[in-house]
C-alpha cells in the first residue's frame, strides 16, 4: 500500500501537470481561432453527450499547420533558430574546449577552485547574465568605448540588437554546459596514452588530433547537445540582445501567444518545435547510452 502511494503521488502529479497539458496543446493546435474566451473553438462540451464529443472531433483539423507553411515567417523562424543554435554551438565548442582542456591539465590543487568558478555562474540568475551584456554591447557600451579608446575602431560597432549579440549571449550563458562534459572526458584521459603516441612517432599536435580529440568525443557530443537543445527554443536571449530581424521560434511563439492572442497557431508552433527537438534529444540519449556502455 505504501509502495502504491509512493509511486502514485509523483506519477499523478506529472500526469496532470506535464502530460495532460501537452495533450491540451496538441488538441488546441488542431482547433480554430475564435473571438471568444477561451479564444479557440471547438471546446469539448460533455453536456450534450455523444453528440458533443462528435462535434468536438469534427471541429479539429490541420488548418493551423497548413497556415504555418503558407506564412514564411514561421519556417524562416524555424530555420533561423536552427542556424543560430548551430552557430552558437560551434562557437561554444571553440571557446569551451580550450578552457576544459586547461582545467584538465591544471595542477590537482587548483581543480576544485576552477570547477567552482565554472559552476558559480549556474547559480546566478540567467536573466542577469544576459542583461549584463546589454551594457557592454550597446553603441555607447563598454566594449565600444574600449575599442574607440584603443583606436582600433573610429566608429562604434553595431552589435547589440543583431544576431552577433545573440551568439555572444548564448555562448556566454551556456558555456558551462559545454565545458563540464568535455572536462569530465578529458580528466579521465590517461597521460601515458599521449606519451605512447609520442613514443610511436607523433608530435604533440598529432597526438592531440589522434588521441585527445577522439577520446573526448563523447564529451564534445554531449556538450554540443546540451547547448544546442536549449538554444533552439531560447526566448530571453533573442528578446534582450537580438534585434527586430532576429527570428527565433521561442520569441515567435511568445509573441503569437501574448501579442496576437492566437492560441491555436501558438500551439501549432509549439508542436512543430517539439517534433524538431525530438531528433537531437534522441541522438543525445543514444550518445549517453553509448558512453554508459563504454564505461560499464
Amino acid at each position: 500500500m505504501r509502495r502504491f502511494t509512493l509511486i502514485a503521488v509523483p506519477y499523478v502529479w506529472l500526469l496532470v501537470l506535464f502530460l495532460v497539458p501537452f495533450i491540451i496543446v496538441f488538441k488546441i493546435s488542431l482547433s480554430d481561432t475564435a473571438l471568444a474566451i477561451p479564444p479557440y473553438t471547438p471546446t469539448l462540451d460533455f453536456s450534450s453527450g455523444w453528440e458533443g464529443i462528435r462535434n468536438f472531433f469534427a471541429g479539429l483539423d490541420f488548418e493551423n499547420f497548413k497556415f504555418l507553411t503558407t506564412d514564411d515567417l514561421y519556417w524562416k523562424a524555424y530555420l533561423s533558430s536552427l542556424q543560430i543554435a548551430a552557430i552558437s554551438t560551434v562557437l561554444s565548442l571553440l571557446v569551451g574546449y580550450p578552457i576544459a582542456y586547461g582545467m584538465a591539465q591544471a595542477p590537482d590543487e587548483w581543480r576544485p577552485t576552477l570547477m567552482m568558478l565554472i559552476i558559480l555562474p549556474f547559480w546566478t540568475s540567467f536573466l542577469i547574465r544576459v542583461y549584463s551584456w546589454m551594457g557592454i554591447l550597446s553603441n555607447e557600451g563598454f566594449l565600444n568605448q574600449f575599442l574607440l579608446w584603443t583606436g582600433i575602431i573610429s566608429e562604434p560597432l553595431l552589435i547589440l540588437n543583431t544576431n552577433t549579440a545573440v551568439y555572444i549571449g548564448i555562448v556566454y550563458t551556456y558555456l558551462p554546459f559545454m565545458i563540464l562534459p568535455i572536462y569530465a572526458a578529458l580528466e579521465k584521459l590517461d597521460i601515458s596514452l599521449l606519451e605512447a603516441a609520442e613514443d610511436l612517432g607523433c608530435s604533440r599536435l598529432t597526438a592531440f588530433w589522434l588521441i585527445t580529440i577522439p577520446l573526448s568525443k563523447q564529451g564534445i557530443i554531449a556538450g554540443c547537445f546540451l547547448v544546442f537543445i536549449p538554444a533552439l527554443g531560447e526566448f530571453v536571449i533573442p528578446s534582450l540582445l537580438g534585434g527586430s530581424q532576429t527570428l527565433m521560434i521561442g520569441k515567435v511563439l511568445f509573441e503569437e501567444f501574448f501579442s496576437n492572442r492566437d492560441w491555436p497557431v501558438a500551439s501549432a508552433v509549439a508542436v512543430i518545435l517539439l517534433l524538431i527537438l525530438i531528433i537531437p534529444i534522441v541522438l543525445f540519449q543514444r550518445n549517453e547510452q553509448k558512453q554508459r556502455e563504454a564505461e560499464g
Binding site: D190, S192, L193, E195, A196, A197, E198, D199, L200, G201, C202, S203, T206, L210, I211, P214, L215, K217, A294
Partner: protein, 374 residues
C-alpha cells in the same frame, strides 16, 4: 659445437649502445637518480631490479625521452640524446599500464607507429600481420582493447612497440598484471622474440625471478643508485653487498669479526664459539667487522655432527615450512640466531626425519658462504 658466450661488456672494443654518464635526476629536492653511470650493449637483455620507488621507471622515461636528466648525459649509439623528443628517438617503450588506445582496434594500435612513418599501406599491413603472428594475436585483430584479456592486451602492447623495429625496446614491468603461469610463458616468449629480432631490451621488474629468467645482466638498484650489475648467476652466487644478497633470493646473514686465515677468513660470530671459516679472494684488510651470507639451500641439516666439515653449528628446529618440492627449516642456534636451511623433499612427507624441537646440526663447506663488508 661450443657456443660463444654472449658477454659484450667484457670486450673492451665493443661500443655500448646506451651510455648513462653521471646522470642525476631530481624532482624538486627529491633525488630520484643519483649520479648514475652505466653502459648497456646492443642485443642485451638488461634487467633493472629494485624495490618500488628506487628510480627504475625514471631511468626508462629518461631513455624514452619523457624526462630530461637534471645533470649528466645519456647517449644512445654514441649520440647525445639531450633535446631529442620521444618521437624522434629510435626507442620504443612498452608502458607499465600498456597505454593501448581504447578507440582503436588491435590492428590499428599496432599500425599506429608505422602510419606515423608514412610507410605505404601494403607495407604497413604486412608488418602488422607479421607482428600479429609473432604475438599470436591474428584472431583478435579487429577487437578493441577492452574486448580482449589482460594477457592479450599485454601482447598487443608488445607488438605495438616492436612493430617499428626499434633499436632499443624499453619494457616497464611488462608482466606485472599477469598471473604466474601466464607470466612464465610470456617470459620465454619475450626471450624468443628478442632472439628472433635482435632488439636490445631493457626491462624493469620488481620480480627477481623474472629478472633471473630473462636477463643477460641484472642491475640491482636502491634509492637512485645501481648497487651491482652482473649476470644472474653472479648476482646470486657472488653478491657484492648485504643489500644485494638479501634482495635476491633467501639468505642467512651472520654478523661477526673477521681475521685472516689461510686462503680466506675466520669469522667469530658469537662469544666462546669456534669461528666459522670461509674461503674468499675478497680483501677486507687484516681484521674487520664483516657479514657472512649463506644461502639456505647450501646449508645441510643432519642429526649428528658430520665429520670433516669446516663449519658446523648445533641448533634446535623451531619451525618447518613445507613448500611442496622443498622444505625450509628454521633452526635456532646457540646465541639466539635463527638460520634457515632448505632441503629438497625427495622422500614422502610422513617419512621425514626431522620434526619440531629436534636438536640438529647445520653445516656448510668453506666455499658456500660469502664474506661481505658489514
Amino acid at each position: 659445437m661450443a657456443q660463444t658466450v654472449f658477454a659484450p661488456w667484457l670486450d673492451a672494443d665493443e661500443k655500448p649502445l646506451i651510455q648513462f654518464k653521471n646522470v642525476t635526476k631530481r624532482f624538486g629536492d627529491f633525488v630520484a637518480i643519483d649520479n648514475l653511470t652505466q653502459d648497456i650493449y646492443a642485443k642485451e637483455f638488461f634487467a633493472l631490479l629494485g624495490p618500488s620507488g628506487c628510480g627504475k621507471t625514471t631511468m626508462m622515461r629518461m631513455l624514452g625521452g619523457f624526462e630530461t636528466p637534471t645533470e649528466g648525459q645519456i647517449l644512445i649509439a654514441g649520440q647525445d640524446m639531450k633535446g631529442v623528443p620521444p618521437n624522434k628517438r629510435a626507442v620504443n617503450m612498452m608502458f607499465q599500464s600498456y597505454a593501448l588506445f581504447p578507440h582503436l582496434s588491435v590492428f590499428e594500435n599496432i599500425a599506429f607507429g608505422l602510419k606515423r612513418e608514412g610507410k605505404p599501406k601494403p607495407e604497413i599491413e604486412a608488418r602488422v600481420e607479421e607482428m600479429l603472428r609473432l604475438t599470436r594475436l591474428t584472431k583478435f585483430a579487429k577487437r578493441k582493447p577492452h574486448q580482449i584479456s589482460g594477457g592479450q592486451r599485454q601482447r598487443v602492447a608488445l607488438a605495438r612497440s616492436l612493430a617499428k623495429a626499434p633499436k632499443l625496446l624499453l619494457l616497464d614491468e611488462p608482466l606485472g598484471a599477469l598471473d604466474k603461469k601466464l607470466r612464465q610463458d610470456t617470459q620465454f616468449e619475450l626471450m624468443d622474440i628478442q632472439e628472433k629480432t635482435g632488439t636490445t631490451f631493457v626491462i624493469v621488474t620488481h620480480d627477481q625471478e623474472e629478472a633471473m629468467t630473462v636477463a643477460s645482466r641484472v642491475a640491482v638498484m636502491d634509492e637512485g643508485e645501481i648497487i651491482q650489475v652482473a649476470t644472474p648467476a653472479d648476482i646470486y652466487e657472488r653478491p657484492n653487498s648485504i643489500y644485494v644478497a638479501d634482495f635476491i633470493g633467501d639468505v642467512n646473514i651472520l654478523h661477526g669479526h673477521a681475521t685472516r686465515a689461510d686462503d680466506g677468513y675466520d669469522i667469530a660470530y658469537a662469544e666462546g664459539k669456534a669461528p666459522l671459516h670461509a674461503k674468499t679472494s675478497n680483501d677486507l684488510g687484516a681484521s674487520a667487522k664483516c657479514a657472512l651470507a649463506i644461502r639456505p639451500e647450501k646449508v645441510s641439516i643432519t642429526a649428528k655432527k658430520p665429520a670433516k666439515v669446516t663449519n658446523a653449528i648445533k641448533g634446535k628446529i623451531i619451525d618447518i615450512a613445507y613448500l611442496g618440492n622443498l622444505s625450509t627449516y628454521h633452526v635456532e642456534i646457540e646465541g639466539g640466531h635463527m638460520i634457515k636451511a632448505q632441503t629438497a623433499n625427495t622422500t614422502r612427507l610422513e617419512r621425514r626425519s626431522f620434526t619440531w624441537e629436534d636438536t640438529v646440526w647445520l653445516s656448510w663447506t668453506d666455499t658456500a658462504a660469502i664474506v661481505l663488508e658489514g
